[in-house]
Symmetry: C2
Subunit: 226 residues, 2 copies
């Protein structure tokens, strides 16, 4: 059965994706390859190339590139920081590491677990359209930035203001930008395209099975430039 | 008259700094060298080295390094974007380019003008202590992130929510993080130290002669690691 026949015989594909396939257990965890820690353009050369590119192809990223992308975004770059736990590629408020990356691939949404460097299934089905219409909905990778407010209570440093919702807001949006810039520069260093933007905040909390302390903030689309 | 004698004979040095020397016209504009757009570590190697370093030496940065740092942070990397004006190394909400960098050097505070790539005097005197105590107060460069809300009205794209103060807040904190990560990765690529942190928001608006639409958000200290 070729692709066309399959699509013809199963017109309710989206319904299928929304029911039987939406169970996370239908998805296997993805063990990401060990990230490469060199190669590609210099930081200065990537800064020269940094730009927002909205037109992104459907073509999938090679597994090693996906691994490098997520590690670069907010991976563990120091295993044993004394009294602080693992160090990350982006700073966070009081080292709370409050942002989680929910990664929408064509087959489903995964949580990026930096410790262990793997993708844990959240929900099966194609939710890339929650990132945006047109190119974003078909791009190979969409990263959703999700804050977990509960992490501020567990932060190793309890600095003044860390419990104040307004202060928290300033912190988690900055933390989002810090990660997003890592993504922009990684993309620029590899000839990839990236686009940081608003996203669906209405449907995603339920679809991504978020807890009340979690909030979807923004999304970033990554792939090959069109 | 050696330094010790001078200090003894002028115990009111801080008063001097706050009066005669605090006029911006005492400072000359600094024309920054043309930024280098290659050299230093790769993006992946810089991500591996990315960390917060609070212990920073007093030693000044060479002029070329200061130029590269500010250009990398939020400089112009595309001169002629159709319908959008100059492109910058960091994204911003609706391309509003809403963040201004106020740069505190030992002799005074300057506004970084990305178009023209120069530092325009704001106020003479040493205001690095407004960034933080200890190492931050003596580090060669302190960058203050200042949002100019008025720029949202002039943005080339007037997307929904751009006039909503809560939405604006999410945008300008993300924009701050995007720039701050450029600084972190540039520093990591050059073996420099960087530290993003809170700063004095009480005295700086008046001292930096900010308009009501401007707000000091955060600061970032850069220099050589101790």
């Amino acid at each position: 059965m070729n692709r066309r026949t399959f699509l013809k015989s199963v017109p309710a594909f989206t319904v299928l994706a929304g029911t039987a396939s939406s169970l996370a257990q239908d998805l296997e965890p993805i063990t990401l390859a060990k990230p490469e820690t060199d190669g590609g353009k210099s930081v200065l050369a990537a800064l020269k190339e940094r730009r927002t590119t909205r037109n992104i192809r459907e073509k999938a990223l090679p597994p090693q590139t996906l691994s490098n992308l997520l590690w670069g975004a907010f991976g563990v770059n120091r295993e044993n920081e004394p009294f602080r736990g693992p160090g990350r590629t982006a700073a966070s408020a009081s080292n709370s590491q409050e942002i989680d990356l929910y990664v929408a691939l064509p087959e489903g949404v995964y949580l990026y677990e930096a410790v262990g460097h793997r993708l844990t299934p959240v929900v099966a089905g194609d939710f890339r359209r929650r990132s945006g219409r047109r190119a974003a909905a078909r791009a190979p990778v969409n990263i959703f930035y999700v804050v977990d407010i509960a992490k501020y209570k567990k932060a190793p440093f309890q600095e003044p203001g860390l419990r104040d919702p307004e202060v928290q807001k300033s912190y988690y949006y900055v933390a989002t930008g810090l990660i997003a810039s890592n993504v922009y520069l990684f993309a620029a260093s590899q000839g990839l395209a990236a686009h940081f933007h608003n996203c669906d905040k209405r449907n995603t909390p339920k679809e991504f099975k978020l807890r009340p302390e979690q909030r979807v903030l923004f999304a970033q689309t990554v792939g090959y430039p069109a």
